[in-house]
């Protein structure tokens, strides 16, 4: 498996059959399939099982060039190939939001996104919200409000909140609920999550709005 870092852009891959569905997180995300810049023509040949193609992924501001099977999800590549295990796997079928990342600033389920589909887009994971060793405002708010218990859904919750606050810096309570509704928490920390999102919104605005 090749793996290096550079900041170049890559051409889009061709001849790849893909799952073709792309799930938006929460109701606030704009439309589905906004990333469909490399639609395979109908009837295009599939890549044989086990065959790998090169992909360049831009994750948290760095470009990674690596070999992937076209069927690999962004979730699998982030966790098992790039070591970015802040993004969690809860269902691998677009139901729980534990794998939520930002793609071009929008919250998306990484389990419903093929790695190839994510090429050419800015991917932000939980690790990308850190400033060095320092927590970002949403992370800090989750810490202070105890907005988690086992902590496994938490990265996805934080990314959903980050995406919500980037497009709606001052959300109403109803907007917060809607924005967080694509993320399950079996420990049931929702009440504290709502508090944390409110607090993060205040902190972000106090700090000038941008993360």
């Amino acid at each position: 498996m090749g793996h290096d870092h550079d900041d170049g852009r890559d051409r889009c891959p061709h001849g790849v059959s893909r799952r073709g569905f792309f799930t938006a997180v929460g109701a606030g995300a704009i439309g589905a399939a906004t990333l469909g810049r490399a639609q395979a023509p109908p009837g295009a040949p599939a890549v044989a099982t086990g065959e790998q193609v090169t992909v360049k992924l831009r994750v948290n501001g760095r470009t990674h060039r690596l070999l992937v099977e076209p069927r690999w999800t962004l979730l699998f590549v982030l966790r098992e190939r790039l070591g970015l295990t802040g993004t969690k796997v809860g269902c691998d079928r677009g139901e729980c939001g534990a794998c939520t990342v930002l793609i071009d600033g929008q919250p998306r389920y990484a389990c419903m996104t093929l790695a190839l589909e994510a090429e050419g887009h800015e991917i932000t994971t939980l690790e990308g919200l850190m400033r060095g060793e320092e927590l970002g405002p949403v992370q800090q708010a989750f810490l202070e409000e105890d907005a988690f218990q086992c902590g496994y859904c938490t990265p996805g919750q934080i990314m959903a909140a980050e995406g919500l606050l980037r497009r709606t810096p001052e959300p109403t309570p109803a907007q917060v609920r809607e924005g967080m509704s694509g993320n399950l928490c079996r420990c049931g920390a929702y009440s504290h999550i709502l508090k944390a999102v409110k607090k993060a919104s205040e902190v972000r605005r106090g700090a000038g709005g941008e993360p």
Binding site: T49, T85, C91, R177, C185
Partner: protein, 769 residues
């Protein structure tokens, strides 16, 4: 009566020796009880916490399990030759593999093979694969050819004893003898009653579905096996895996420092551990084997369905005269406590001289149950607490008053009627009602439009929650005054690590950020039982305190020599050891010469025994308000208050988190959660989070109020804490059901109160809009 057996433990639990003397209870605390964010919060919100499913080892393979697609079948032929030839496949195992020919014990006495040809539920393991990538592993699973003889099945426990029902096991579908309990004379009790009410209730089976999938990473180093495992208890997993593979305990190391939720489904070892270990052995590579989400709905536990017929007698003044419960349940295809503790609240929660219960546990072709957050109790509360509501209505008494009339001071359900160390039931009811505004809310009109409002109350206790031995903990004090806490217990999301660090800080004055914690690793941490049964805080916190005190004693001896004052005169003030009488006799811990020479002070704490002849139980009362849309049957929980007596509040912040979590889970039982079998094929139709609905942020009230009765229980243990995690979810579903009744006058006896069910009931009553 034998004490209820809550959790399956292989063999006898190890004993720990009792401490020589117990320290007096804390009179006031500086750290314990405060609202403090978790000590591992940074790791959890930054993504640096490594959960077992995050582990990636060099040269690691991925495992996948082929599972039986039928409710009942026999494997007649299996061919894995094609699978073995696929790219990336490194090991394929099945019932034909010698290395996988091991016994799997579903209970102490009932066993099958790891891959047994006879599959008694959908999701039983048939074969497994290890390959270079998960996709290649699943390609291989699909390439294994299996021929099944599909057999007749029964998946509805209510049909399991019918004549002609397919037998899950050759001996029939009864798991064991009827379980009976009796005190007094129920016939006389009913004769003495002014009102007798009889109702049949049912709760649907629930699935735990913790966010982190069940699974592990297995690695061999010669004869030694290491498992990174998402578990509530590393030691029970170690014991079971070692026994199954006939290995010494020292040959199996289980690491589970972080884990993403369990709720009872991760208290024990599973077949997948053995599968991963065998695959890793044969491939001579580490193997990561995490189940898919769909698999977790089939084969790693559930809360059994409960059918409960409850008859109750009451006098006009609210005195209970008799309770009679008949219960039928199923723990699935193997013995798994299908009716375990369903009758406990009927036996023990309220004063009643005449009680009879009878429970029938049957086999069905479903996945085996596992303990699920307060086994049996939410089901029992669904019946008993709705019944209390019905009795109150029958005699025209306020439901809170009726409960207060029947608060016991001792445990009637246990032989000898031992007293509770403390019971906060009365205070939970009265203070909860007061804070909720119960009486005003009851008087408020239900609403003139199609949306009706109602309020409900329910109460509960948890049969356990006192913890107890064995447990061992080590606290180390470094010469700069920082500390290390070493304990075997898992922090399953309840804040165990934080609470224990607070106990160390309380005794040694070490700031929380200067305490390093190692936990849940059989190779390096001390013995603890699994984190379950709401016993972790009452078990571990006195043990941690004992270890910290052992360090403190040595520290004072060193300081006494240097300060030339008696050790008994010393105390810790901030980061100093200081004399109580001489203001000049003080020294920073980090400057103690003796400590520097010793390098580290080591304190060992062991959990002492619980008081004899007394029962340690947590209590709860809950109140809620709902809105019912009579046009659609939709129920919205508007506000919720939980008043809990769990002894001392150890951390006000994580305490509140536990409460809102338990309430949220209980709302799921009340309104949305149910395992659904297809009657024609016996397959589970609700094997994902789309079809099995757990509460989302849209389904819970924005504010769930936690009102603790913060009364330390000095008789229980040396920190005065009782368990919290389970009592918070016991009365919840019944509270919601009672509020629905208050709103629309319809008693929904079967869970969940789905719009379909409620709309039909409303239509039948003609109370629409």
């Amino acid at each position: 009566m034998k004490p209820p057996e809550l959790y399956f433990i292989d063999g006898a639990a190890p004993e720990s020796s009792a401490p020589a003397d117990a320290p007096p209870p804390w009179t006031e605390t500086r750290v314990v009880g405060k609202a403090i964010p978790r000590v591992d919060a940074y790791e959890r919100v930054s993504g640096t916490a490594v959960y077992p499913s995050d582990v990636v080892l060099p040269d690691m393979l991925y495992g996948a399990i082929l599972r039986c697609p039928h409710a009942s079948a026999r494997v007649t032929r299996l061919d894995s030759a094609a699978a073995e030839r696929l790219p990336g496949v490194r090991a394929v195992i099945s019932g034909l593999t010698k290395a996988a020919d091991v016994r799997w014990y579903y209970s102490r006495t009932v066993f099958t093979k790891l891959f047994d040809p006879r599959c008694r539920f959908q999701g039983e393991a048939v074969a497994a694969v290890a390959a270079e990538t998960p996709e290649q592993a699943w390609d291989a699973v699909r390439a294994i050819t299996v021929e099944y003889e599909v057999l007749p099945f029964v998946v509805d426990e209510r049909e399991a004893l019918a004549a002609g029902a397919p037998a899950v096991h050759e001996a029939g579908n009864r798991v064991g003898e009827l379980e009976r309990y009796q005190r007094g004379d129920v016939a006389r009790g009913f004769a003495e009653a002014d009102k007798v009410v009889e109702v049949s209730f049912r709760t649907a089976a629930e699935i735990h579905t913790p966010m982190e999938l069940h699974g592990c990473v297995a690695r061999w180093d010669g004869p030694r096996l290491t498992l990174w495992e998402s578990t509530q208890g590393v030691y029970p997993v170690q014991q079971r895996v070692a026994a199954t593979l006939e290995m010494p305990l020292a040959g199996v190391r289980v690491i589970g420092s972080y884990m993403g939720g369990g709720f009872g489904s991760k208290l024990q070892a599973d077949k997948y551990h053995v599968v991963a270990a065998v695959l890793a052995r044969l491939a001579a590579r580490p193997v990561k084997l995490f189940l898919t989400r769909e698999e977790t709905f089939l084969c790693v536990g559930n809360r059994p369905p409960a059918n409960m017929r409850l008859k109750a007698g009451v006098k006009k003044d609210g005195t209970l005269t008799a309770l009679e419960l008949t219960c039928l349940g199923s723990g699935g295809a193997y013995p798994a406590g299908g009716t375990s503790l369903v009758d406990w609240l009927v036996r023990d929660l309220y004063t009643c001289p005449n009680v009879r219960t009878e429970c029938t546990d049957v086999y069905i072709n479903g996945g085996p149950s596992r303990p699920f957050r307060a086994p049996g109790h939410p089901q029992g509360a669904w019946a008993l607490e709705q019944m209390m509501d019905a009795l109150a209505a029958a005699i025209g008494m306020d439901p809170v008053e009726l409960r207060l009339k029947n608060v016991p001071a001792f445990s009637q359900g246990r032989e000898g009627n031992p007293p509770y160390t403390t019971t906060g039931l009365e205070r939970c009811l009265t203070e909860g009602a007061e804070a909720f505004g119960w009486h005003e809310a009851r008087r408020r009109p239900r609403g003139s439009g199609p949306v009706k409002r109602g309020v409900g109350v329910a109460a509960g206790l948890w049969v356990a929650g006192g913890g107890g031995p064995p447990s061992t903990v080590i606290v180390k004090l470094f010469p700069d005054g920082s500390a290390n806490l070493n304990m075997g217990a898992s922090d399953i999301g309840t804040g165990t690590k934080t609470v224990m660090a607070m106990v160390v800080a309380e005794e040694l004055g070490v700031p929380l950020e200067r305490i390093q914690i190692e936990n849940a690793d059989t190779g390096t941490t001390e013995y603890a039982t699994a984190s379950g049964g709401s016993k972790t805080v009452p078990t571990e916190s006195p043990t941690v305190r004992a270890a910290a005190l052992a360090v403190k004693g040595q520290l004072f001896d060193l300081a006494a020599a240097e300060l030339k004052v008696p050790a008994t005169e010393l105390r810790i003030e901030g980061e100093e050891v200081a004399s109580r009488s001489d203001p000049k006799a003080r020294k920073r811990i980090a400057e103690l010469e003796g400590l520097r020479r010793r390098g580290v002070l080591v304190g060992v704490g062991v959990r002492g025994p619980n008081p004899e002849g007394k029962v340690i139980n947590p209590f709860a009362a809950q109140f809620c308000e709902v809105e019912v849309d009579t046009r659609t049957g939709e129920v919205r929980v508007v506000r919720f208050l939980s008043c809990n007596d769990s002894g001392r509040v150890m951390n006000r912040l994580t305490y509140e988190s536990q409460v809102i979590g338990g309430v949220t889970m209980g709302i799921g039982l009340a309104l949305t959660e149910q395992r659904v079998f297809d009657r024609q094929t016996g397959k589970v139709l609700s094997a994902n989070w789309h079809d099995y609905k757990i509460p989302t942020v849209m389904d819970v009230p924005p504010e769930i109020t936690s009102l603790p009765i913060d009364r330390p229980d000095p008789a229980a243990n040396t920190t005065g804490a009782k368990g919290l995690g389970e009592p918070v979810t016991i009365p919840t579903a019944a509270t919601v059901a009672n509020a629905v009744y208050d709103a629309v006058g319809v008693r929904v006896v079967e869970s969940p109160i789905s719009p379909m069910r409620l709309a039909a009931l409303l239509a039948a009553r003609g109370t629409r809009g």
